[in-house]
């Protein structure tokens, strides 16, 4: 039995952010995540640190939050935020009225803008559609959500926070109608651990209503899936948005060596059963190509789908996109709080508000300092650009993202992980153009050598990884990506002999 004051459920940006805030205020806590950090909406987003421009016309309040948090995160998270800046591009057909509303609203919400002529914009991003009319520069940035969660967790762990990843909540323990603890399943050892706490925070995003139900409570949520595609090049050094009301496929974000484009917004019921429809990919591709025409011909290396946990508004007649992206804290009055909605950019603010409520509850008067104290653990990160990772020629394990063998070895030794995702999220191994086609086999080999996993376990992991990778690339198998796929099949199915033969 483990005793603590606050049990946080969910290892996304919100949950890890709360853990950090609790740690900085000296509140004893423990965090439970059923997979790895950033396994839900946090890891399946664009990796865009919003300037607020996207929301400014329709939801100025959200925009104001974004620009404030954007400024804070740039300051406290230098090694997980790449200050790319962003453009909103106006193409033929995009109205001048929206542009005027946009500029006016940005001014009101405090988002710095600069109007660029078409030629100035093209100078900045040569791949832009040459028929663009103009562009507005805003302080968008690219953020690594995996690294962000890791860094939050480091602050927590350094102050005694207990973090349980790959642990699933199977029961909320109640005593006289109040939540007093949780039972969690260790997914590796299959053991059940009991943790008691005074307050439970449900920060499990799309899985929030399931957790609330375990405590006999209800949360009004609407799930909306959004799909994204990854292209094998960094086509722009700036974030590119379309200067028009929010729609499908209107954002492109450079992320280290690749570019992400999305999204869509389709209502779903089950967050565990997401698929990317070929129609979504075609839509995103053609919309992205309106802004960066290279998207028409580029090799798409992966598609993925995440789910947004949105607050249910009274009126949802105009579809999920019109539901507020704001957040809400619900006090279930039984010892459990749920924190719902929000977005990656405002995760810190959400964590602050949530922690304030808990601090009040305990009568703790220590103020929040997460906006001033830099994220700890950044000294071990290489930061941007990717070329910085190669201070000297080393034994490279992942050529796409320049991750060295020694770096992977250190992560394995430091975390004792049995999970390949843990290494990917901490080093970006396998996140570049070949999508782990070569390096996963290597990383698992190294995990065997350090005694972390048995050969059987690593082959199982490799199989699961390849199946998942294939699921992401299957909708994109044409053009040059089909060539890549045939090469990978040749390696794993033929050369390594992993195929299942029909007798």
């Amino acid at each position: 039995m483990i005793k603590t004051d606050v049990i946080i459920i969910g290892g996304g940006a919100t949950g890890t952010g709360i853990a950090r805030d609790m740690a900085l205020r000296g509140i004893d806590h423990c965090l439970i995540e059923k997979k790895d950090f950033a396994a839900g909406a946090t890891g399946a987003c664009h990796g865009l640190l919003h300037s607020g421009g996207r929301y400014t016309v329709k939801d100025p309040e959200a925009a104001r939050e974004c620009i404030t948090e954007n400024t804070i995160l740039r300051k406290i998270g230098k090694k997980c935020v790449e200050p790319t800046e962003g453009l909103f591009v106006r193409l033929p057909g995009d109205t001048i009225e929206y542009r005027d509303d946009f500029l006016k609203s940005c001014k009101e919400t405090g988002i710095k803008t600069k109007i660029l002529s078409a030629s100035e914009a093209i100078k900045l991003v040569p791949n832009l559609n040459p028929s663009l009319l103009e562009a507005v520069k805003v302080p968008d940035a690219s953020i690594d959500p995996f690294r962000l969660c890791m860094l939050n967790v480091i602050s927590s762990q350094r102050r005694g926070g207990k973090i349980f990843t790959h642990h699933k909540v199977v029961e909320i323990v109640k005593t006289r109608g109040r939540c007093t603890g949780v039972k969690v399943l260790d997914k590796f050892s299959a053991e059940i651990i009991e943790i008691s706490g005074k307050v439970i925070i449900n920060a499990s995003g799309a899985w929030g209503s399931g957790i609330a139900k375990m405590a006999g409570s209800d949360v009004p949520m609407s799930l909306s899936k959004g799909s994204l595609i990854i292209a094998n090049h960094r086509l722009s050094n700036l974030v590119i948005n379309r200067l028009r009301p929010s729609s499908n496929g209107d954002i492109i974000v450079p992320n280290e060596t690749v570019s992400l484009a999305g999204t869509t917004s389709i209502h779903v019921d089950d967050p565990d059963n997401l698929t990317t429809d070929p129609g979504e990919i075609d839509l995103i591709r053609s919309e992205a190509a309106m802004m960066l025409p290279d998207f028409n011909n580029i090799r798409l290396i992966r598609s993925y789908t995440g789910v947004r946990p949105l607050l249910k508004a009274a009126d949802t007649s105009s579809g999920d996109r019109s539901i507020s992206r704001g957040f809400q804290i619900i006090d279930h009055k039984n010892g459990m709080f749920s924190i719902l909605g929000g977005k990656l950019t405002t995760y810190r603010l959400m964590a602050e508000k949530m922690t304030n409520r808990v601090a009040d509850h305990f009568g703790i008067k220590i103020p929040c300092t997460t906006a001033e104290v830099p994220l700890e653990g950044q000294e071990d990160l290489s930061g941007y650009p990717v070329s910085k990772r190669l201070g000297k020629i080393e034994n490279i394990m992942c050529e796409c993202e320049l991750v060295s063998r020694s770096k992977v070895k250190k992560v394995i030794e430091d975390t004792g992980t049995k999970n390949i995702g843990d290494i990917q999220h901490r080093t970006r191994l396998g996140m570049g153009p070949c999508q782990g086609g070569f390096c996963t086999y290597r990383a698992l080999g190294l995990m065997q050598e350090t005694g972390q996993v048995s050969p059987e376990e690593s082959l199982d992991t490799l199989k699961r990884f390849l199946q998942r990778r294939y699921k992401g690339s299957r909708p994109l198998l044409y053009g040059d990506q089909l060539r890549e796929e045939q090469l990978v099949e040749g390696i794993y199915l033929s050369l390594l002999g992993m195929a299942e033969h029909e007798v």
């Binding site: 690593s458 089909l482 040749g490």
Partner: protein, 394 residues
């Protein structure tokens, strides 16, 4: 420049066709865009299926499979031809046309194949067979622990080669002094087992001498285990065939992207090669198209449209609506049926070109992954297409 025959593609089928034609006294050229897919392969020659006997598999192949255009005699002849020329080149292959064998892969699985280069002739490992593995410190693409998971009694020793890529270690092995140091170290390991497995790094050009020296000085049998690309046995296979072709007088146009071609009635007259400055033209009386499947760039799937990339030939496409399997590990996507359909002369059935012959994995219904017949099919159809082209030129 005018040739009797221009072969497009320097993979297995293109090289085999050009070697055969040059040997027959024809003035032959190879036009190739880059290193072929066989140079990243395991270097082993799969002929057919995963059973004990290749012929049992071939007899069960569907009627439309290209092997049926070659016939048993033709397949047997071309495999023997391959064995002969490789022997002459000093890079022997072991095995014969009818039998399959089981070699060890880097993850301890078995892989069925037919012909193996001599450094793998001892790679058939029985279930309970004892062997030792030599690996290299921090080597990038080889982790012997995978193998030990399947063969728990395997002992491992690790040599520090001072470099960690397979290509780098293989290049060092070609050096006499490095090899001597390596052999001295092996002797110091007091290895008990008679068989020693080693990642495929035993030299790039001097493999024969290296293995001979290793065996004489240590008294052990060595076998190579193919690794992830860059695969040294694949590179040796490609370089050996290329060297044979060059010795027989085949002219090479490398890094040559074909941008256009000229036809006259039902014949192709020349192809245009992109060059800095001005284009180059290769004229020939007959052409062999051996540009491979999607991975090699012979076929291209433009979203839903199947294209042949040099002559824009009509491409047969599978009838299935879903051309990719749901499961990564299931062999044979329906898309592998796509390609160029041929008649008995290896002319494309739906094209009007009488002097164009088709060979290798660009052929429709070859399904080389599903039938495990990649290099074997390339060798057999390469020589068969060459024979047809020669007949045509008479």
């Amino acid at each position: 420049m005018k040739y009797d025959i221009a072969v497009i593609g320097s993979g297995m089928s293109g090289l085999m066709a050009s070697i055969y034609l040059a040997e027959q006294g024809l003035n032959t050229a190879i036009v190739s865009r880059g290193d072929p897919i066989c140079s990243v392969s395991s270097g082993c020659i799969d002929i057919a299926g995963t059973g004990k006997k290749t012929l049992d598999s071939i007899n069960n192949f569907p009627e439309e499979h290209p092997y049926n255009k070659v016939g048993e005699k033709g397949i047997s002849y071309s495999i023997q031809y391959f064995l002969n020329i490789m022997k002459e080149e000093g890079y022997d292959y072991t095995g014969n046309f009818e039998k399959n064998r089981n070699i060890l892969t880097p993850i301890g699985k078995h892989r069925v194949t037919s012909l193996v280069p001599f450094p793998m002739k001892h790679a058939d490992i029985g279930k309970d067979e004892a062997f030792h593995i030599i690996s290299f410190k921090d080597i990038k693409d080889f982790f012997p622990s995978y193998i030990r998971g399947v063969f728990p009694d395997t002992s491992i020793s690790v040599f520090n080669a001072g470099t960690h890529t397979t290509m780098g270690i293989a290049a060092k092995m070609d050096n006499k002094d490095f090899l001597s140091t390596f052999i001295t170290w092996i002797k110091s390991q007091k290895i008990k087992q008679n068989k020693i497995g080693i990642p495929a790094v035993l030299g790039i050009t001097k493999t024969y001498e290296i293995i001979k020296k290793l065996e004489i000085e240590t008294g052990k049998f060595f076998f190579e285990i193919p690794t992830l690309p860059p695969s040294i046995p694949g590179i040796r296979l490609y370089r050996s065939l290329k060297s044979i072709a060059e010795k027989k007088g085949v002219s090479f146009y490398g890094s040559a992207e074909i941008t256009d071609f000229k036809k006259e009635k039902d014949r192709i007259i020349n192809i245009t090669i992109k060059k800095p400055g001005r284009p180059d033209y290769v004229n020939a009386d007959a052409f062999i198209l051996a540009t491979g499947s999607f991975v090699s760039g012979g076929l291209f799937l433009d979203k839903n449209i199947f294209k042949e990339t040099v002559f824009n030939l009509p491409v047969y496409s599978p009838v299935e609506k879903e051309v990719f399997n749901q499961d990564f590990f299931k062999l044979g996507h329906p898309i592998e049926k796509s390609g160029i359909l041929i008649d008995n002369n290896f002319n494309a059935t739906e094209s009007a070109y009488s002097n164009l012959f088709i060979a290798g994995s660009i052929l429709a219904n070859s399904e080389t992954m599903k039938y495990q017949c990649g290099h074997g099919m390339a060798i057999a159809t390469g020589i068969a297409a060459a024979k047809s082209a020669k007949e045509y030129l008479k």
